[in-house]
Symmetry: C2
């Protein structure tokens, strides 16, 4: 993997917003309402996703840095007939002057934890909601899905193969990046390779085989060009009667010439049965070192099922079910007002709901991760930003108040760091390799029980005393 | 809706491809293998999607028109160490010289029908596979999902609200466009509005309400700015005890000043119950003309369920479950080699599979839609391109040969039209409005029984005699 630095690009996607952000902005503008507001971006609890790998901050940084309305944007908005001249003039001069805290890319995060906190005049904070949700929601979904798939693969390598299934160009490209942050070793997507320095993988398809008079000729022709990176797709006609025997002949020849072929790829049929039979054939022919690569509708559940049946697969190519989130569908982040400036202070704000889990947590927050002596995580604590965190500490379940945990000893780390302060970028985007390592390191500090695909142990994310009392007070008022 | 003409843009996304396309291309290049090949792009049969609205051709046209490797692309490919100088020189000079037939955007298409047919030297035809699948797969998914949702809405208006849930920038923007082709009346996405002239909609969010001291003040402030486009979100605190009564007070005032407010929006809670109760309150207060707008996790199944419970909803805002395909997840198009030049003719090619439904249909094809005297569709027929279609016609199920239908009288229409001929664009992209009308008109020629959301009647897509015999002959050989 290239150690390419993430660059701050120059694309302007200011208009990627919901119309209601602009109608509200005009409302605030006309009222002269320019109090600072604080918004939390987080995802809600869900049964199918026990943890999330935060991803997408690099695009957020580019977006905020380039946030401005071009002349053509203003012209278009004027044409709608709902915005007046003064407000359009304000938009034409608009720059983001607020502050943004965020967890870093590759961070392990949980439901209800603020992943991004935007503090800005409400008119500015409102504008950026849509794009932030769009970027973080998708990229974090893919990084999280990749992490689950890589966990299921138990040390076997996973390659991201979904460019053709991705929902457009930047989904493919930022999706590939998210997938390697989630633990994939590379991608088939050449654009992602170029743009982000991600390792690229790929050999040939069924059409290559079909375009020759015979499978053997197709393999031979491929091997002539790729002698030392020869990986043959063996399921075009009949995997066990034709594909693997033909591959073995080619491997025999390549090895006799001193080359080292990689192995075979299976893309259809029953991967458990075919991989075991193929392994037998390869081993009997003396190709114990030939790898078996599997692709075709794979996700974490398929990998677990194939593992449990003793499938002999070495490397996994995962496509549509990774790059589109597959069974996890979408992350569904929300961006909620949690405080608003009034006088010299901030008044906490809360969105009520009949469903307590959907009632937001008010106040300006920090998230702490607590570690034990061995460096493993104990729990996360959502607290008020300026709150003192005592030691020993008793943490309490956010809704089920009788669930308590007393922690005598711990070290803590703040997850939210400054990205923009008063409109100025103060954060150095790490290299992709650093982000990959960050995700990998942090994930290793969580017990596997938390990462299990089905019925995982639920990691504790509790509210500090002050935050709990604040929320409770507002609920009962 | 603006009658903006679809423009042929200039973005270059040539590198949006799988690495294996380039490794295969180098293989063909080194062998001097430059026969013409024909590939069909289609989607496979699936239980959850009875028909599809084809979408994405406008991006395909832009892509093919701008297809070339930039200097930085070549430099990157060279850095991988797997491509030799001669091949890189070939790539640097690469232009697409082939021909592309396609169904037009807005066309109703079915599983296994070639939606795009690429005929080009195999080295060129191979390159474009990935991007074509990426573009058509996503945009057709969203257009199809929108069509299902609009069908479920039974004439009620549907607005696309998913920009924050979309998988990136171009997914949001092309997704909004696809949604209106599928029947939505507009979008909340301002960029899509600007880029494609789509009607944009939006009012205010919960944060607007929370940023004021009271809901009433928030509504009043909003109504002061948007007197004649006033639509109030009523579920921030308590929909029936606070939201709707406050909205009624505002509507009373607006009407007394001669204005015409639009209505209310419900975004949470039980939409059947809340809409019925809200309707009652509004009607009793004399606001029978106030519309009820519903949003929040809506798709075709939710709409059908709410309809069946007599929900009083007038307009639907549909977000994540539309722009990401929701329950339909992904279209999963494939691009299969169906013929290859040999001498003066083309040899049909077929990918075999144990599963007959997954075995491709060989040969260069045309798709015919057959209509009865009243203009309603009877069936589609996939035939060889130069095949004579007799009248009367007996059509036969593609796999279950005993299922036959004799059609005495019909008119037919070819679905595949020329887009590129020998590398030259010969197709005028219609305006978005024309495409919307096309989809609407064509869909109206199908009986509702085919469009039903659950257990729809299956529309007949049969193979011509010649195509059936060709496939059968190749299968038995």
């Amino acid at each position: 993997m290239d150690n390419k630095k993430n660059k701050v690009g120059s694309a302007n996607i200011t208009m990627l917003t919901d119309l209601y952000q602009l109608t509200m902005m005009q409302g605030y503008y006309k009222m002269g309402f320019n109090q600072q507001a604080v918004f939390d971006l987080f995802f809600r609890e869900r049964e199918d996703l026990n943890y999330c790998i935060f991803c997408g901050l690099h695009t957020v940084v580019n977006y905020i840095n380039n946030l401005h309305f071009a002349k053509s944007d203003i012209d278009y908005l004027e044409s709608l007939g709902i915005f007046d001249k003064l407000f359009l003039k304000y938009l034409a001069e608009f720059r983001f002057s607020g502050s943004i805290q965020s967890v870093v890319e590759g961070e392990v995060v949980f439901a209800n934890e603020p992943m991004i906190v935007v503090k800005a005049p409400i008119i500015e904070a409102q504008l950026v909601e849509t794009a932030l949700l769009n970027m973080i929601g998708y990229q974090s979904l893919v990084a999280s899905k990749a992490s689950r798939i890589v966990f299921a693969a138990k040390g076997q390598q996973v390659v991201e193969f979904g460019v053709r299934r991705a929902f457009g160009y930047d989904a493919a490209t930022n999706g590939s990046r998210a997938a390697v942050i989630g633990g994939c070793i590379g991608t088939s997507n050449v654009e992602a390779g170029k743009q982000y320095g991600i390792n690229v993988y790929g050999t040939h398809s069924h059409s290559w085989v079909l375009s020759f008079d015979s499978e053997y000729k197709a393999f031979e022709s491929y091997a002539n060009v790729y002698k030392d990176s020869c990986l043959l797709l063996v399921d075009t006609y009949d995997t066990l009667k034709s594909g693997v025997p033909n591959a073995i002949k080619i491997f025999d020849q390549l090895k006799s010439q001193g080359h080292k072929p990689i192995g075979i790829r299976l893309d259809s049929g029953d991967l458990a049965y075919l991989s075991k039979m193929s392994r037998n054939l390869l081993d009997k022919a003396g190709h114990c070192d030939a790898k078996i690569f599997a692709s075709g509708d794979i996700d974490e559940f398929v990998i677990e099922a194939l593992h449990s049946q003793g499938a002999k697969i070495d490397i996994w190519g995962v496509g549509g079910k990774l790059i589109t989130g597959g069974s996890n569908q979408l992350l569904g982040c929300v961006y909620k007002l949690v405080a608003i400036e009034s006088g010299n202070t901030f008044t906490p704000k809360m969105k009520y709901s009949d469903n307590l889990a959907k009632t937001t947590t008010p106040g300006i927050k920090q998230v702490y991760r607590l570690y034990d002596d061995s460096g493993m995580t104990i729990a996360d604590l959502i607290a008020l930003q300026d709150e003192y965190i005592p030691k020993p500490l008793t943490i309490v379940h956010p809704t089920d108040r009788w669930k308590k945990l007393k922690i005598d000893n711990y070290t803590k780390r703040q997850l939210l760091v400054d990205i923009f302060v008063d409109g100025k970028l103060v954060y150095n985007l790490p290299s992709l390799q650093q982000t990959i390592s960050k995700a990998d390191d942090e994930l290793s500090k969580f017990w596997d029980e938390y990462k299990r695909i089905t019925t995982p142990h639920i990691y504790k994310v509790d509210l500090s005393d002050q935050l709990y009392f604040l929320k409770n007070k507002m609920l009962t008022e």
